[in-house]
Amino acid sequence: MKLYAIYVVRNNVKPAKAITDAKDLASFGFFQRSSIAEFMTFMAQTISEKTQPGQRQSIEESNYVGHVYARAEGVAGVVITDKEYPTRVAFGLLNKILDEFTTKFPNSAAWTPEQCNFAELQQYIVTYQDPKQGDTIMKVQRELDETKIILHKTIESVLERGEKMESLVERSDVLSSQSKMFYKTAKKQNACCVIC
């Protein structure tokens, strides 16, 4: 499950223009990276052109999937991943990015690659490489699963404890009866008729 690139594209003009982006193409060979990067940029721009504001889409292309979310202000966020990346996480990421972007650069005229420096994108790519890390819901789910595992182990140990308790009970019963015999014998010693 890989996250390849995040783009913020301005789609209220045609052709759409990428404002800023972050890429993680480490999984491709060194010589293919530039062409793949161009392809991805082109794909991001194309699909954000075709997306209406307020619409979310997932487009599948060869072995990439582009998730695009267009905001009403005229920007769209595009996330390019492989096919296994969960859709929900991608859209959650897009929501977050676009919110931050619009709060950081509310001036729509200033949306040019030079003026907008959205360094957090690179950070997001790194964090969201593992969807379970980045997405809140998945984090919660993961922690809950871990807790469940721990609880299962706890229950097993409690069961063992129960078994040990049972053996303890038996042994204490035996001890109790033995001590009773001991006491009776000792008492008998005392009251026995003296050897005469």
Binding site: K50, T51, Q52, Q55, R56, Q57, S58, E60, V65, K83, T87, R88, F91, G92, I137, M138, V140, Q141, L144, D145, T147, K148, L151, H152, T154, I155, V158, L159, R161, G162, M165, E166, L168, V169, S172, D173, L175, S176, S179, K180, F182, Y183, T185, A186, K187, Q189, N190, V194, C196
Partner: protein, 379 residues
């Protein structure tokens, strides 16, 4: 099928004689069993839609034919009963009861057929939902072909259902024409005609037969009038009324079983294959899908939390059960301590007795001296 022809010939030939009973029953049961077998077999053919549609078609034909013949029989019985001969009265009663039995059997068979159809539609819906889920991220236009086919089959398969459940299937496949509902799929045109023919014979119907043998009004508008005609004959059969009213409803709203996806289907059937248009129509369902994804993920979290809660409760219960065991152990340990203390006391006393008992010491010395004396006397 050949038997039913024979049976009909036998009915006609024995019309004058009035010795109808045994042969009639015999032939009728023979005719019924292939229909029953087909219905049973149908339940197994879950994944062969073409065969299923063929089978349903055949079954419908058989059922309608049998119904017509029983109607003819009933007519004949009534005509003979009109003579009211004293000698033939018992025979008339017998024949009327036989006719009723035959009709009830036919009704049971059609019930079974209807249930099989319902099962089939459910399975088809499930498979369709699965298909939609699998293909949701990819190209959805590929779905329309398969969906249309499914809709056709559902249409054919569900035509015998009770009217309330028939809304869903027939709606998908019909265009809204001012006359009535005309099927847009390539369903065979023959069944409407045959149903019309049998419908004319069906007019003096038993109340039980009506829900099953009503031909689907979506096939032809003339059958609608037939139903109203039937309604006049039947007393208080409530199924016919909602049937005709439901056909009115069908013209208006859409039944959303798959929420926005159904809308998408109908729209895409009418829209062109342009990708822009297609994406626009996908707007609402996609957003809904996304939201549904989120909600399902959150539901999963919620269920995990519930499980955790249950596990904690189990843990608490087990620990509480073990508390009893611990109490027993504790009681035992107390007993042991008590006993041992007592035993120690006894031993101490004994030891004290032994240590400070003069009388015992004297006795012991005397015994030793006595033993020495004896030994020395002997040696």
């Amino acid at each position: 099928m050949d038997r039913t022809a024979e049976f009909k010939a036998a009915v006609n030939s024995l019309l004058n004689r009035g010795q109808i009973q045994s042969s009639r029953q015999h032939h009728y049961t023979n005719a019924n069993s292939p229909a029953r077998k087909v219905v049973k077999r149908k339940a197994l053919f879950d994944d062969r839609p073409v065969e299923i549609s063929e089978l349903t078609y055949v079954i419908k034909q058989d059922l309608s034919r049998l119904n017509a013949q029983t109607m003819a029989l009933q007519q004949h019985v009534r005509s003979t009963a009109a003579k009211a001969n004293r000698f033939t009265r018992q025979m008339d009663e017998h024949s009327t009861s036989l006719v009723i039995i035959l009709q009830s059997r036919l009704a049971n068979i059609s019930m079974g057929f209807k249930e099989a159809l319902e099962i089939r539609t459910e399975s088809m819906q499930a498979s369709k939902a699965r298909q939609d889920q699998l293909l949701q991220s990819g190209g959805q236009p590929n779905n329309t072909q398969a969906q249309q086919q499914q809709q056709q089959q559902q249409q054919q398969g569900q035509s015998l259902q009770l009217p309330q459940t028939g809304i869903l299937s027939s709606l998908r496949n019909t265009t809204r024409s001012p006359i009535g509902l005309v099927p847009t799929s390539a369903s065979p045109p023959q069944p409407p005609n045959q149903y019309n023919n049998y419908g004319n014979n069906n007019i003096p119907q038993n109340g039980r037969m009506s829900p099953f043998m009503q031909p689907p009004p979506s096939r032809s508008p003339s059958s609608l009038s037939q139903h109203q005609h039937q309604q006049q004959y039947l007393n208080g059969s409530t199924e016919v009324e909602p049937y005709s009213s439901s056909s009115v409803h069908r013209r208006k709203g859409r039944v959303d079983d798959y929420h926005g996806q159904q809308q998408y289907e109908d729209d895409s059937e009418s829209a062109g294959p342009a990708s822009m248009l297609f994406q626009q129509q996908q707007h609402a369902p996609h957003v809904e899908q996304h939201i549904q994804n989120r909600s399902s993920a959150i539901e999963a979290v919620e269920s995990t939390l519930q499980e955790l809660g249950g596990i904690f409760q189990q843990l608490a219960q087990m620990v509480a059960e073990q508390r009893d065991t611990i109490q027993r152990i504790e009681a035992n340990a107390d007993d042991i301590e008590l006993n041992i203390n007592e035993a120690q006391n006894q031993l101490l006393r004994y030891y004290r007795n032994i240590s400070s008992d003069r009388w015992l010491m004297i006795k012991i010395f005397l015994t030793i001296i006595f033993v020495f004396l004896v030994v020395s006397l002997v040696s």
